[in-house]
Each structure stands twice: as C-alpha cells, then as structure tokens.
C-alpha cells in the first residue's frame, strides 16, 4: 500500500539528549538530495540539558518536503516521532487525523508518564489508535537487542535510538539508506564503534518496517521541479555568514566581524570564527557596546565593520549606532530577532524590533533598514547590506529572525563570478580632502582611510560643519546636516529594486503585506487563494528604510491591505504613518510561526 502526496511533514520529538535535531537534519538533507524542496523548523528547549522526561525538555525538529515549492515547515504533521510521553504530550495536537505516530513504548513508563502529566498510558488509549496509525514499538529494547554484540555502554547504545526511528522513517518514504549512511560515516569518522552501532541500528529500524505486522502506508512524494544547478541546504545564519564573506570579496574590502554571543545570533559568530582561514577577523567582544564600537573603529580604518546580535544587544547598541550615523561610517548590524521584550523567550521567534531599528536612537538618526525573507535570502541581503553601507557610507541594520536563522532550505549555490562587484565610495584623490564632501547624487560622504597621505581628518559625535567637518554649533548648519543625513538615506531608494508583487495578482481585492520570515506562509496562502480564484497579491518588503520608491503605488492597486506580522503591528504603523494608508492587521505574538490555516482564515474574512 502506498500513498502519493504533494508534500509531507515529519516531526521528530524527544528529550534534548535524544538526538532529534540530528535525525531531523539528516532526514531533511536526504529529502533535499532526493530532489525535494524542503523547509525545516528546529524547536529546542530553552534549557541546555533539561532533566529527562520533562515537558520543558522536549526538543523537536520539523521538516516538510514536497514536489512543489515548500514554503513553510507545515501547520500539521503527517508523521510524528515521539520518543517519550512528554514529547507526545507537547506535539500530538500537530498530528493530522490518520497520520502516523511512532512512539518508543519502552519510554512510556510510570515515571515518564507522571513527568508528562499523563494518568494513564496514552499509547494504550483506544481513541488514539482510532484516530492515528500508531506504531508503538519497544524501540529501546529493539536497539539494545540490535547492539547486543557491541562493546558500547548501555547509555551509548541508547543514544542511537534516533537512528532507529530515522531508519523506520526512511522505510516509510522508501528512501535510499546509503545517503544517510554516508552522512553518519562522516559524522562519526573518528569513532568507529559508535559509527558501526549507528549504522547497525539505522538498518534495524529500516528493516523493521518490512516486517511490521500492522498496516502502515508507504508514502510517496514526487520530486520537485527545482531550477537546474548545484544545491546545498542552508540555514539563515549560515547564509548570513557566507554573504558577509562574499561581500568582502565583491567589494575588495577587509571584513571585521565582531559579536557578543546571544541566541539566536551566536551561530553567525561561530561560523565566522571558523572561517578565520578566509581572512575574516572574527572577534568576541566583551559586550554588545564594545562590539558595535569596535566595528565603528574598524570601519573608520577602512574595513567592513559588522556585528550580529539579537534584541537585547540591539538595545545596547543604540547610543553607538547614533555615533555611526553621525560619523557616517559603513557599519552593519545584523539583528536576529527573538521574542521580547527584555530577555523574553530567547529561543522563540518574533519580529518586534522593527520600530526599534527605525527609531531606537536619540535625536534624528536615520539609517538603512533591511530584512531578509527566507533563510537563503540572508546571503543576498547580507551582501546588499554591505553594498549599501559601503557605497552610501552609512550604517545599515539587517533584520533577520530566529525562524530564518535556524530554518534550513535547499539553496542553489551561486557562481561567485556572476555576482556583481561594486566600488566602495573610498577617497583615493590627492586633492584637498574634507570629511563631509559628498557625492552629488547619493550624498554619500567620501570615506578616507587612515594611512592615506594628506587626508587626515577627525570625525566624531559632535555636530559638524558641512563639508569641512569642523565642530559647529551654527543653527542653520545643524538643520542642514540633519536634513542631509535624512536625505542621504532617502536617496538609497534610487539604488534598490522597485517593489514587486511577490506572488499572486498585480492588482485586485487584497494584498497581503509582510516582511521577514512570514514570507513562506504568506506566499503559500496567497498561492492557494489565487488557485481558488481570489484576486490576491503578496507584497513582501525587504527594504524597510527607505521603502522602495513605488511601494505606495503598488499597495494602492489593491482594495484592501492586510499587514501580517509577528508583533503588535509595527510595519502597519510605519505604513500608516508614512503613507496615511488604512491597513488591516493580522498579528500573532506567540513565539511560534503563523500557520497557513490562521492566515487563510484571516484573509478569507477580508475577501468576503
């Protein structure tokens, strides 16, 4: 028996120590390799190692793969792996009726049931069995049995349970075990005993499928018709790191990356530190103020100064960002947003730093604000951030978020030679240099690098006289400079792409507007609505300050505007204030992504 589906979602859930992330990543990669499009959503607990069996210790990894463009990790799951009662409790609501549940019945003992708050064993519940295809298997025993000849300790043997379920899931989707084996071989290359145990258990899981007595459908999903090219999977944070290095090569400028660890931005630091052999300087500062400050220092010295952080760090950078605005230096802040305010929920996504990015500095301190839309878009937007910073000579904030940062997707690897280079606006003249001489068109000031003979100058936070850069308290000069700094940022609109209607109809009844990681869910919903015959478009804004010059016109082509955000309506407020434009809002501030179902129902309300 086998079913054919357009896309399928699998969720691996278990204790933090159960290796669910590894199983999920392995399965995702294999799915991509088989030619599917994928979207993933790792969802781990806040605790480093929560006690086993607890509800808050559940770690999950959700992956959706399909033959069409896969835009979200899925609202519901077709196959759910629950390694213990807590995992079941936390995730069962996600399982579709008729979906497959794989559970380790050995883990459903009295202690674990109590920790998860179950009075009775749910696996023995008839309703459960009616509603879902339940594969309740003594996985722990089966694994120990499979490894009875292995010299490993029981603890280490049990750690391979993730490979057992992975094998089983591979069987359900008729996957090629060899790819998984390859990955495992690479991972445990230096630990032969662990490697062989993992391989053995993987196979045990796979072949169990064949011998199962209950009827489990084998699910088939055709391959996606992805554009031709060489692919890899990439997360948002990986894409950011690679984008920055690429930008450094494209601009010919050295890269100074400095960061203070903070979830979910730390992985960018880890990557950059690893890429030390690529001539990146990657530094861990003593705090975020030092990070942005030293980035400013590096930028003054002629480097691309970049820092990455999350909300609390962005808040701390407020004052120094003002200095970057005043000195007009190309520094880039990547804000990987997480749920706030304050420490908030550090491991959950949110999009509530937009107004802070826009206005979170005293005085009139405008800067460029960008936002990437998908994990791999971080690659291009990181390059874009560097390009705009180094040609317009101004700080840039690039907004990413936890959902983008950790989510993975297949990415068609660009040919480096085809990426456009640019010339930073650096002073190379021999004439009389003044720090506030500007390019007539862009208003960018000339960036003169210390060491350049004859271009000595002082920049700083005090108001400066136009052109000469001498300290000035002159009233008219101050207003002129305030307006110049504003106008310079406004003119960036001439140097960015016009706003497109990303998906759906170019004009009509409703436009759904978003920014950041809501891209997938909006696009998916709009595609469905258009298929259903509705006149709906999707406008996804990646340039938030300045807005693309035609944005107002584009939005004006629709009768209704719905702004979708994981905050209380920050872009909505910006659109209202900027364009005096009435907009509807759909806001979800729960630290979990907006689902297709939720958005669909909101959209339909407006389409009635």
């Amino acid at each position: 028996m086998s079913q054919e589906k357009p896309s399928v979602t699998v969720r691996f859930a278990g204790d933090s120590g159960d290796g669910m992330q590894l199983a999920g990543i392995n399965f995702s990669f294999e799915s991509a390799l088989e030619g599917h499009d994928i979207a993933t959503f790792p969802d781990y607990p806040a605790e480093i190692r929560a006690p086993r069996g607890t509800l808050y210790g559940v770690s999950g990894f959700q992956v959706r793969f399909g033959r069409e463009e896969v835009l979200t990790a899925g609202d519901e799951v077709d196959v759910l792996v629950a390694m213990n009662p807590a995992a079941l409790k936390r995730t069962l609501h996600l399982l579709k009726e008729g979906g497959i549940l794989i559970a380790d019945s050995d883990a459903f003992d009295a202690k674990n049931l109590r920790l998860a708050g179950y009075d009775t064993n749910p696996l023995e519940n008839d309703d459960l069995k009616k509603k879902y295809k339940v594969l309740s298997l003594p996985i722990t025993s089966l694994v120990r049995e499979a490894l009875k000849d292995s010299p490993l300790s029981v603890k280490l043997k049990d750690r391979t349970r993730n490979m057992f379920v992975l094998g089983l899931v591979f069987w359900i989707f008729s996957r090629d075990l060899d790819i998984a084996k390859d990955l495992i071989r690479r991972k445990f290359a230096n630990k032969p005993e662990i490697l062989s145990a993992n391989l053995k258990v993987l196979e045990a899981g796979y072949y169990l499928g064949e011998t199962l007595e209950i009827e489990i459908p084998k699910i088939k999903v055709s391959k996606a018709s992805l554009p031709e090219g060489r692919y890899r999977t990439i997360t948002g944070n990986q894409a950011t790191a690679l984008g920055l290095i690429t930008a450094s090569k494209l601009s010919g400028l050295p890269l100074y990356f400095v960061s203070y660890p903070i979830t979910p931005a730390s992985d960018i630091l880890h990557d950059m530190a690893r890429y030390r052999y690529m001539d990146v300087v990657a530094i861990q500062a003593e705090d975020e103020i030092a990070a942005i400050s030293s980035a400013i220092g590096a930028a003054y010295g002629g480097a691309i100064g970049v820092t990455a952080t999350s909300g609390p760090g962005l808040s701390l950078m407020s004052e120094a960002l003002g200095l970057a605005v005043m000195t007009e230096l190309p520094v880039i802040v990547i804000d990987v947003q997480r749920a706030g305010p304050s420490t908030g929920m550090p491991t959950k996504p949110e999009q509530a730093d937009l107004l802070q990015a826009m206005f979170g500095r005293h005085g009139e301190a405008p800067l460029i604000v960008l936002a990437s839309a998908t994990p791999s878009d971080n690659f291009y937007m990181a390059i874009e951030a560097v390009r705009l910073a180094t040609t317009h000579i101004t700080p840039v904030i690039l907004l990413s978020d936890l959902y983008l940062a950790n989510g993975a997707e297949p990415w068609i690897i660009p040919d480096v030679n085809n990426l456009p280079k640019w010339k930073p606006h650096i002073w190379r003249g021999n004439g009389d240099y003044k720090p506030y001489m500007r390019d007539e068109e862009t208003l960018a000031r000339w960036w003169a690098i210390p060491g350049t003979e004859g271009a000595q100058h002082v920049v700083g936070g005090l108001e400066k006289e136009d052109v000469t850069g001498n300290v000035s308290y002159d009233p008219v000069n101050h207003e002129k400079m305030v307006r110049l700094r504003l106008e310079k940022v406004k003119r960036v609109a001439d140097d960015i792409p016009e706003q497109e209607v990303t998906t759906g109809v170019p004009e009509g009844d409703l436009v759904i507007v978003g920014w950041g990681s809501t891209y997938g869910v909006i696009r998916s919903v709009v595609k469905q609505l258009v298929e259903q015959g509705y006149s709906v478009g999707h406008v996804h804004i990646r340039y938030l300050n300045p807005f693309p010059s035609n944005l107002q016109e584009v939005l004006g082509r629709f009768k209704k505007i719905l702004v979708v955000e994981m905050n209380m309506g920050q872009l909505a407020f910006l659109l209202r204030g900027t364009f005096l434009m009435n907009v509807y809002q759909f806001n979800k501030v729960q630290g979990v992504p907006i689902t297709e179902r939720e958005l669909m129902s909101e959209a339909l309300k407006l389409l009635k």
Binding site: A32, G35, R186, L226, P227, E228, G229, R230, Y231, R232, T233, I234, Q238, L242, I245, T246, K249, Y256, R274, Y275, R276, Y277, M278, D279, V281, A285, E286, D287, I289, A290, S293, S294, A295, I296, G297, A298, Y300, G301, G302, G305, A320, L323, T327, I412, I413, P414, D415, V416, P450, G451, E453, G454, A455, Q456, V458, V459, G460, G461, L462, V471
Partner: protein, 340 residues
C-alpha cells in the same frame, strides 16, 4: 612603531588648524604639546597616526592634532581603538581619555583592552573631576570631596588606576604628571616604544573645577618629599636630602630614614619593572601625600604577544589546517547535490 615614510617633522607639523578650546591654564595644553613633540621625535608622519578619544575636556584632543582622529562617545574609545588596531596594525593608535571617561562609564572597555594587550597607547588624563560637565566628582575623586554633585562630600572610595590596570593585565603601566614635561615626554616615548598595550596615567590639573588637586606633587618645595620617581633596578630613594627610602617589611612598604647617610637598609625596595608583584606593591602607595610618597614612572613593562599578533597566529593556524579555500568552495560547504 616608528614612522616609515620620510622626513623628520617638527612638533608643530602635528598641530591642526583648530585652536584648542580648553580653559586657559588647563593642564591639557602641556600634554598636547608633549605628545606632538614625541611624535615628531619618533619620526612619525601625521597620516600614520590616529587618536581616538571618548567624551570629556581631554577627549577634545584629536581636534588639535593634524593626524587622523575620532572624537567618539563617552567611555568607548578603548573598544573603538581595538577594532581599528586589529584591522590596521600598521597605524600608531592612541587613546585619549579622562578619569570619568575611562573609569566611570568606560571602565569595562578599559580593562578588556588591557587584558587583551592590544598594541595601543592609552593616555588617561586624570584630573579627579568631571571637567566638561562642570565639576562633578569622578571615580578618582577622594572620599568626602565636595563637588557640584557631592555638596555634602562624596560617599565613595576612589580607584587606584595604576593598580587596576596592573591587575587587569596591562603590559606597560606608568604614571606621570602634566607639569613635569620632561618626565612626561620620556614616559610617552617609552609607552609608544612598548609593543603591547601601554597605560599611562597622567595627573592633569583642572584649574577651573579642581585646581591644585596635585599641588602636593608639583609644588617644587613639597615635591621631593611627596614623590618617588621609580627607576628600574634602582632603590626607591627620595626626600629633599635624598635621605629617605622605601623598605619592605612583612610584605608591605614603609618609609624609613636612611641612616647613617648613604647606607641603604638591606630590605630597601629596589624597583623591578618586570615584576608584577613589585609593581602592585609599589602601586599600592596611594595614601595622602603627607603620609606616603606617590610613585611616578614606569611601574611595569613586559613583552607579551599582542592581541593582533595572537589573532594573526590564530589565522595562521586556521590557514595551515585548512589550506587555501576558494570562496566558491566555501559556498559549496560540505554537502551539495546537482539538480538537472
């Protein structure tokens, strides 16, 4: 670092066209002059040098130099200088900071720059007051001092900046004073000679809000009794008649009279710039000038790999391990597949 490109310049070649706007009589003028002199003497060219300052009267310094410079924000100069120096080890980078800038708001960046041994020269203009904001106490103001923000006297003990710098890991630590221009110049030169972070505390008179704070040490009459000018390898002798010295007794320093004349006691304190322990010991002389002499000069000097050197080695280790990797390969990463 010493200049490379050409002709020896005059101090005035390091002077910018901006007229200094410090109060007439301010100690900052003397320091400006010595710095310009030292740069000229050491053969720098103006475009090879950068001055980074925070906010305060002293932090106006970069405007008056015909070099590169940044007058930044309050307390962050050491962090800004770190980013600059790491990317541009070829430049001579100086940090100009005040006691409020460096030790109140900027304390953290200061100790971290010292710990990392970034090869910059940090000049702390200590006037024991907030000058620019018109006279509040600072972290170096003495307990009970009456200022605008402490009309009833302060309630807190001052930092001993030299001791703090030593314990934070500085590799060159010295103290000098605005009025002793020769000593100052000598110290500045040595600070610049030093490879690694140099921390120089300069007592600076703010004649408007804290006039005479260091009179005990500058008054020519008092000076011989109130100051000790440290010299490497030499015993700590002072006094108008050079008849007093420091001895070590049960781990502490004590002042004793040298008697009979010329015969130093066996436990006399002999300064050793290479000993952190001795540096801390002598730096802990921090009491009122009536009771304890105040040491000036180089407390500590030791050559350790600088932050930039360590970072370069880090890169070399990485390159050695990884070999040459093209950007294209980097983008490919570990696992790819082809869609046709």
């Amino acid at each position: 670092m010493t200049g490379t490109t050409g002709t020896i310049l005059k101090p005035s070649d390091f002077q910018s066209s901006q007229e200094p706007r410090w109060c007439p009589g301010c100690g900052d003028y003397a320091i400006l002059k010595q710095v310009q002199t030292v740069l000229a003497e050491k053969g720098y060219q103006p475009h090879e040098v950068v001055f980074i300052s925070g906010i305060g009267c002293s932090s106006r310094f970069p405007y008056y130099m015909n070099t590169y410079g940044m007058h930044t924000i309050h307390g962050r100069a050491p962090a800004i200088a770190t980013g600059l120096k790491v990317m541009r080890p070829d430049l001579s980078v100086w940090v100009i900071t005040g006691d409020g800038d460096a030790l109140a708001i900027g304390g953290n960046h200061l100790i971290h720059a010292l710990r990392r041994n970034v090869d910059i020269n940090i000049l702390l203009f200590n006037n024991e007051i907030y000058g620019l904001t018109k006279g509040q106490y600072s972290p170096t103001s003495e307990l009970y001092k009456v200022t605008k923000s402490s009309p009833w006297g302060t309630a807190e003990n001052p930092f001993n900046p030299v001791l703090l710098a030593l314990s934070a890991g500085a590799t060159f630590v010295a103290r000098t004073i605005d009025r002793e221009v020769k000593h100052q110049r000598e110290i500045l030169k040595q600070a610049d000679d030093h490879k690694g972070v140099s921390f120089v505390e300069i007592y600076q008179n703010c004649n408007v809000f804290n006039d005479g704070a260091f009179a005990d040490f500058t008054d020519k009459k008092k000076q011989p009794e109130t100051t000790i000018f440290l010299k490497h390898g030499e015993p700590a002798i002072f006094g108008v008649n050079r008849d007093k010295c420091l001895v070590v007794e049960n781990g502490r320093l004590k002042v004793v009279k040298i008697e009979p004349e010329g015969s130093l006691p066996g436990n006399v304190y002999v300064h050793d710039e290479t000993s952190l322990e001795k540096a801390m010991l002598v730096a802990s002389l921090f009491g009122p000038a009536e009771h304890v002499p105040r040491p000036f000069g180089v407390f500590y000097r030791v050559r350790k790999p600088t932050y930039e050197e360590q970072l370069r080695q880090q890169r070399d280790r990485a390159k050695e391990k990884m070999g040459e990797v093209s950007l294209q390969d980097l983008l490919y990463g570990d696992e790819t597949w082809q869609v046709k």
